[in-house]
Each structure stands twice: as C-alpha cells, then as structure tokens.
C-alpha cells in the first residue's frame, strides 16, 4: 500500500494533484469543526471585505466569512455526494452483477426497469420532487432520490462487464469449484468490475454534487444549509458578480473546480492503478 502510494506519487502528476486537492478537501472538512461561526450566521463579520489574511476567501454581503462558510459547504456537499454515490453504487452493483450473472427472467425484468430509468429525464424529475417535497426534503431523502435516479446507466456498464466475465473460462472453473453465486460475483468478478465501479463512483459523486448545485441555483433546495450550491445561490441573490464582490462567486467556483478536478484526476490515476491489467503487469504477468 505504502509502496503503491510512493510509486504513484513519484510517477503520476495526476495523483499528486489529486492527493493535494483531496488533502485540501479533508483540511476544509476538519476545519469546519473548528469554525468560529455558525455556517449561515449573518453579520458575524464586516460585510464585503475582499480576501485577506484575516478572511482568506473574503466576506460576503451577508456578513459571513467565506472561508469558514466554504468549510461547511464543502463538507455538506461532499457528504451528500458520497451518500448519493454509495447508495446508488449499492443499487447499481447489486442489479448489474446479479442481472449479468444470473441472466434469465431476473435479467430481463431488471433491464427493462433499468432502461426506463436510463431514459428518464432526471433534471425535471428532480426539480419536481424537490418542489413537491421541499418542506420534507432533507439531505438523506435527496441523496436517496438522486441514487434512485442515478444508478441505471452504471448498472448497465457493470452488467456488460459481468456478461463478458461470465464468458471467461475462470468463471466456469469457479462454478466447478462448487463456489456459491455470491462468492463468484464478489470474489471472482468484483476485481474486474472495480475500475468501472470506481470510475462511476467518482462520476456519480461529481454528478450528484453538480445536480445539487443546479437545484440550489434555482433556489429549490434548503437554502438555509450551507452547500456549494447554496453559496452560489446567495451570491447570485446579492448580484455579487456585478457588485464587484467577485470573491463570493470565486470561492465556491474555485473550490469546486479545484476539488472536482482533483478528485477526478485522482480517480483517473487510481483507476489505472487498480485496473487488473495494470496489476497483472506490475506483478510481471504479461509483457
């Protein structure tokens, strides 16, 4: 593990950047627990101050310190993204792997449902559900909703991979070892599906945070709870852009871009690493 880390660090610029931004994200999340202000407390500091040592990201027109606000925003958004990604991964892996491996009626039904979800217009439905459930909406429901809407395509990718794995001889060997289905799926096939799971997890994470931002920009989420989207929403509400308070938008946009790009690059680097082909090559399996 340590060796792998050192190797990655030495050779992959993506990995370095990814680790730096991940470290930054973790730093921000930790800092949120030491924040001197409540996340959305107004007029705690002088409004509209540009970035300085006292206020790293400046302060906004609502008298909030943007650095501290961003620590909460990033924490909430990432938490939400992770929650969505994990929930939708559970569905996607389960459906994708079982449908692919079992085939038959289960596969047919699962794929009909899957197709229906793939073609559903996600944004309108999300908007609608947010609009309808707004006073009952919380992070968990929202994550659940996004998970239900966001698993289908990934399940399809996983299924396709499992279908090809099923054709491989070692799957037959596993069957003749007397292994139960569960073990074949999770022990024998999982490592090959991992790169897909990993890549789609990051994509799903970014997608769900992006969706949250979209909804927030339209004012359809709980705008009393700090998140990246909510910070942008309030900046727009106060016309930060044309008021010259650029740092109000720069903070969330900059942090988003930095963390998103970092996580993505990290996933690219790691994905290459966890790819079974790479693993084999590193063990000297194939020239």
């Amino acid at each position: 593990m340590r060796k792998a880390f050192a190797g990655l660090w030495k050779t992959s610029g993506y990995f370095r950047f990814g680790i730096v931004s991940l470290a930054f994200a973790i730093f921000m999340i930790i800092m949120s627990f030491f924040s001197p202000f409540k996340p959305m407390e107004s007029f705690a500091v002088t409004p509209d101050l540009p970035p300085s040592f006292a206020h790293l990201f400046g302060t906004n027109s609502r008298g909030q310190d943007l650095f501290w606000q961003m620590t909460f925003a990033l924490r909430n958004s990432l938490m939400f993204g992770v929650m969505t990604a994990v929930l939708s991964r559970i569905i996607a892996i389960w459906v994708g792997m079982y449908a692919g491996y079992k085939g038959g009626l289960f596969d047919k039904v699962a794929m009909a449902v899957n197709d229906s979800f793939v073609i559903m217009p996600v944004l309108p439905i999300l908007l609608l559900l947010n609009f309808l459930l707004r006073d009952k909406m919380n992070w968990f429901y929202m994550a659940l909703m996004m998970a239900v809407l966001g698993w289908a395509y990934d399940a399809r990718l996983i299924r396709a991979q499992v279908l090809s794995l099923k054709e491989r001889v070692f799957s037959d060997t596993a069957v003749f070892c007397g292994m139960p289905t569960r073990r074949i799926i999770f022990k024998e096939h999982m490592p090959y599906v991992m790169p897909i799971i990993f890549a789609t997890t990051i994509n799903n994470l970014l997608w769900s945070i992006g969706m949250e931002v979209t909804l927030s920009i339209l004012g359809l989420t709980n705008i009393n709870k700090a998140s990246i989207g909510v910070v942008i929403f309030w900046a727009n509400q106060h016309q930060a852009m044309i008021s010259g308070i650029w740092w109000w938008l720069a903070a969330p946009v900059g942090v988003t871009v930095f963390v998103f790009t970092g996580l993505y690059l990290l996933s690219v680097a790691l994905n290459e690493y966890i790819d079974p082909r790479t693993r084999l090559r590193m063990k000297g399996g194939a020239v």
């Binding site: 009909a112 197709d115 229906s116 309808l132 970014l206 339209l218 852009m241 946009v253 998103f260 690219v268």
Partner: protein, 342 residues
Amino acid sequence: MSIRDVFSKVFLKYIMQRLGQCVLVIFIGITITFFIPRLAPTNPVEIKINQMMNGPAKIYPEAIAAFREAMNDLYGLKGTIGEQYLSFWKRFFHGDLGPSIFAYPRPVSELIWRSMPWTIGLLLSTSLISWLIGNLLGGLAGYHSDKRWTKWVELAANCVRPIPYYIFAFILLVVFCFLIPIFPTTDAYARGLKEGWNLQFMLSVLYHTFLPALSLVLTGVGAWLLGMRALVSNIISEDYVQYAEVGGVNKKTILGQYIMRNALLPQITGLGMSLGSIFSGALITEFVFGIPGMGTLSYKAILNFDYSLIMGVSIFSIVGVSVSVLVVDLLYPIFDPRVRLN
C-alpha cells in the same frame, strides 16, 4: 447488403423486438412520470387560485368555488387518479397532450414545439460539434500519445471534464457580457427580427447563442476527448493496427481508417444517448442566457406545477432518448459490418 437482406424475416423480427422493448420502456417511463406529481399533496388548481389571490388581480371569494370547478374540468383533473391515467392515454393516442395549465388555453404541444427548435438548435449543434472536436482531438491525442502537446490537451480535458457546464456559463457571461461587453446578455436573437430561415436571422441567432454554445462545447469536448483517447490507446495495440504499421500503410490511413474508424463505434452509441437527452434541454445554460428552450419550459412547468406540461416535456424527453437509442441501434450495422452477421 441487398434489400432482401434488409427485410429478411429475422431483421424484421429484430426490429419488432427492439421496437417492443422501446415501447415498453417508454410506457414504464411515462407511467412513472405520470404518477410522481399526482402522488403529491399539492394540486395545480389550488396553486393557481392561491397565486391569483396573492397576485395583482384579487378574485372575489364568491367566485372561488366556481373557479375551482371550472379549472378542474379544464385541466382534466376530474375523477380518481386511475380514471385520469386512462383518460391521459386516451388523449395521448389522439396526439393530444391537453392544454397547459399555466399558459391556459395554449396546448402543451404548441408550447413544446415553440421551445423545441431552440433547444435542438443549441444542443444538437453543440453536441455534434463537441462530439466531432472531442473525437478528433482524442483520436490524435491517443495516436500521438508520446508527443508533448497531447499531454497538455489531455490535462486540459481532464481538468475541464469534471467541471459542471454552468460554471463555464457563469464565467463566460461575466467576462464577455460584463467585463468586455461584446456579446449580448438577453434574447436568443435580435429584437424585431422575424423567425425564419434567412441569413440575417441565422447570424443573429448565431451571435446570440455563441456564448451558451461555447460553454456547452467546452465541457462536452472534454468528455468525448477522454473517451476517445482511451479507446484509441486500446485499439492501437490491436493486431490489425500493428499489422498496418508493419505493412507500411500510410499514417493518415492508419489513423483514419484503422484507428479512428474502429474507435468511433462505441462513441456512436454514446452520441445516440447524448442526442436523445438534448430533449430535456440544458436548464442552467438556458436560464443564464435567456434561451426559450425546453429547459426553461420545464422549469416553468414545475414552478407552476403544470401537470400537463410536465408530462409533455417528460414524454418528449423519454421518447427522444428511447427513439434515438433505437435509431442508433438500428443504424449501427451500417457503421459496424460485424453486427450485420452476429
């Protein structure tokens, strides 16, 4: 492939099967979108009444009951949810999506037809452009993976890829409409121009939609580029590419006909998906740049809780994606001769 082949029984059977699957999926999708809003405790008539009570034109209390009655009737909200569902399909098969609620009495289909050209114009062109540029660059980057510039292109794509498209929209809006105001902020074309297929109008649309298109292309290119690059780097180690290289086949031919041609196959399926999804519009871009497309329409539909319009927009999106996936599936054999046999 002769005509007889095309209409061979098996092919017809395949088409029927694929069509059936498509219809089933559309049916499930539409059913889900029918029930979601109706299971909610809210109802559009009450929202409408409330809007009017809070709005500029106060209605008299005496009129409210009559009002409610009249509107329920007009919007097809009478009867149990089951009856509504049945009557929805009945109307649907007559090609009638009903009147919009918030733009009453304008039919939903008319609203959609009016927004559609904008969305299609913007998204079809940007999807195709970013697909073309992305694949071209991705192909080159994959082929010349040892060159310095490909590393930069790849890095740029990797950095652009995870950034949500509306972030670009915001940045472009600030830079080119406010700091350097060379692009217009409002409207999809110059005021007073009549919509039509003439040069002046087209130029005006082009000019007005340049920034939103750019923001969409920028993000789109990144994703296609990376996909293509990965595909190319796999295909480059295929035997037939290596063989062509050993055989001294012209480099352009190798890149074009051996590498790109094969790498494009999965990308075509991807294009089908992404072309299908354009029917639901690019909400934030439309929102930010004031383009009267499907995204804006669906946002309005939802804010006004306009059942019929929500259904209409969703149906278009669902049918759009399914049909374009179906079309790509059916056309795929043209691109990949192998599928014709297996």
